[in-house]
């Protein structure tokens, strides 16, 4: 009797996990294929920092929730938490010059799907060098 109940619970849990897992990965595929971002930069007026502008574009149908974007350069790190609807968002980061030149700059994008699957995407490192 107990063994039958346990086997039923096991089958239900296994099936539910597979269904939810497939749903999550399908959504992951849709969202990643409809997400893009570009970076542009300009030197700020006081020349003590670099103002880096991150343009995030999302063309998916639903809102992309639990999305965080972190820009890291040496000791500098700033995180923006977003619920991204279709369209684009411009994020501005002001990086101190010493961090920008001494270390590589990279962007980390983290998404959590229903709290079950967590995805983290780290961009290639960008080296900022001064022009003599």
């Amino acid at each position: 009797m107990i063994s039958t109940a346990l086997k039923t619970c096991s089958i239900l849990l296994f099936t539910t996990t597979l269904v939810v897992g497939s749903y999550v990965f399908y959504n992951l595929y849709l969202d990643l294929s409809s997400l893009s971002f570009s970076v542009s930069s300009k030197l700020s007026m006081d020349a003590a920092s670099i103002n880096l502008i991150l343009n995030v574009t999302y063309t998916g149908r639903e809102t992309l929730r639990d999305l965080t974007i972190t820009l890291t350069a040496g000791n500098y790190s700033e995180t923006h938490s977003l619920s991204l609807k279709a369209g684009s968002v411009i994020l501005s980061y002001t990086i101190p010059l010493e961090d920008a030149f001494q270390s590589s700059v990279y962007v980390r994008l983290s998404v959590s799907y229903m709290g079950i699957v967590r995805i983290s995407i780290v961009s290639p490192k960008i080296s900022i060098t001064g022009v003599p």
Partner: protein, 153 residues
Amino acid sequence: MLKYRSSVEGWFSKSGLTRKILVGVLTGCLNYIVYYLIPLLAIRQIMIPKAVGSLTVLDMVSGMELFNVWVLLGLILLSVATSILSGSIVGVVIGASIPVVMIAYLMSLFSVLTLEYLGYRIDVDVTYILILLSISVALWSIAKVFKYVESLQ
């Protein structure tokens, strides 16, 4: 006559033991395919390309050999022990623990999948999915032990 009967019984028990070992080895090979080879091939061929489109490097999975002698040996030993001790609670418990051990092993390997695609590093954390799968497998194993205990009553 008595001596002859005794030697015949001994031969039969030896034969029985050989059969049990053979069954154990075959079951071990089957377990290797089910719990190691199929998940590894599935992760290599199905999950990742669907998740990220085309793929250039898959760090962890590409480094793993399809033929892992230690995993195969471990599974064969456990299966042989299960086969020899079948009919006793120890055999049932060992047999029931094999899927749980294998899921735990796979969990330690694949809880975070790390990929590289066009210079982008992608980490996919599937710990919770694996935990839920291992709970369902553990429930199934406990059910097998309960079934054995119920059959004794």
